[in-house]
């Protein structure tokens, strides 16, 4: 990997995710008719953490939490087949506030696909977007996040990667 720079170390990453969780609590407590949905595959680590964190602070609130796979809704699947992941939505989103959670917001195409996928599960009252890293000025569709962990400036040849294994961090690197 060339031109690697660390955007967030583990400590800051956790703080940022906790702040996002608090923002969700501030806006949506006590989470009546509100559900969290992580986008497969890479949004899940983020949404798992946020969901667990909210549950720790408010153990008695019951928030529906699901995982959404958008593979079949992509607009770029010809040429390269993307393997589907598991969609795990055991509740109806009809008339609910849905908070979509993903790791990086770049062109906006994933979120476009996610909104299409959501429509097939019912008509949500409102859909909001919670993002860990927002690569601003690079949108190809009119999509804007409601909750942002960190905004960064980046160029087309760069990529953002979130590590959430033994080592937790967010890096920016040159892809060519």
């Amino acid at each position: 990997m060339k031109g690697v720079s660390t955007i967030m170390e583990e400590k800051q990453l956790r703080l940022t995710l906790q702040r996002l969780a608090h923002e969700l609590i501030e806006n949506h407590f006590p989470f009546e008719d509100t559900c969290l949905i992580g986008i497969q595959p890479r949004g899940i680590a983020i949404s798992d953490y946020i969901y667990q964190y909210i549950k720790e602070i408010h153990p008695d609130v019951n928030i529906p939490y699901g995982k959404l796979d958008i593979t079949f809704y992509r607009d770029d699947f010809r040429g390269q087949i993307h393997l589907p992941n598991i969609t795990d939505l055991t509740f109806s989103i009809e008339k609910k506030n849905v908070i979509l959670i993903d790791d990086v917001l770049y062109t906006g195409r994933t979120i476009r696909a996610a909104m299409d996928a959501l429509l097939d599960h019912g008509r949500a009252k409102k859909v909001e977007l919670c993002i860990l890293v927002d690569r601003k000025f690079s949108r190809e569709l009119p999509i804007h996040p409601d909750f942002v962990g960190k905004s960064i400036d980046s160029i087309v040849t760069q990529k953002v990667k979130v590590y959430w294994g033994d080592e937790k961090k967010v890096i920016l690197y040159e892809s060519v």
């Binding site: 796979d69 079949f72 699947f77 010809r78 040429g79 393997l83 589907p84 598991i86 097939d120 599960h121």
Partner: protein, 311 residues
Amino acid sequence: MQLSTKHLLGIRDLHPKDIQLILDTAKQFKEVLQRPIKKVPSLRDITIVNLFYENSTRTRISFELAEKRLSADTINFSASGSSVSKGETLLDTVNNILSMKVDMVVMRHSATGAPHFLAQHIPAAIVNAGDGINEHPTQALLDAFSIQEKLGVLKGKKVAIIGDIMHSRVALSNIYLLTKMGAEVTVAGPPTLIPKYLKDSFGIHVTYNVREALEWCDVANVLRIQLERQNQVLFSSLREYNRAYGITKPLLSSLQKDIIIMHPGPINRGVELDSDVADSGQSIILDQVENGVAVRMAVLYLLSGRKEANN
């Protein structure tokens, strides 16, 4: 990750990795089929023709439903009532349809090798929905999917294929698939309906005793007696066949274990399978039909991704 093949002509040409990929993808499509809106837009830019030169209920409806659930445009063609009766050749018919910008062909034909012939001459992706007495790959895939769903894995499982092995494309595709995926296979039926070479070419067990096969197996896949393909007397009467080779409730109850009963349909009730067996709790015949849609969606989805490579 994609299939190593452009067409699905038979299980014979498939790599075990391809089979696993199809089965894994089908699992996700099965989830789609449980949703309130059972449809995804993946193939909205694809047109598929269902070319049926032979009768079919399940396969045809299943394919059509799979195509619609994927948002593909579909055209249905059946040989009866078409210009085939005026003498148009297979290749002419297909080329005429393809010139109307069709991307994929799902095809059933009574001649063995018909889809393989087409694959050499046309650019569209071809899915074999049964050719003569050769193969019926999507049926074998959905059988495997149903076994996997019930028993967890295919590897090491014992599957008995019982009945008219000689005329059954389902049997051949199943034997290819199960042996490739590491399952053990026994075929059972009357000697006149089991080809001689099976044992040597596939290394599977052959028995003429249905009871023995049932006692050995975890899953019994019972096949239909294909009277329409038999032009000589291979057993004396259906009643006698039922007595010697049919699966009856007393026979099933006398086994020491609960085996799973499968049948690709249509069932000859009272011949190869008695009604109280076909409708029992051990039978997963209707699950097979349900899984068929998910498996065919997976096949069409995975093959359609190669569109750009063709053009």
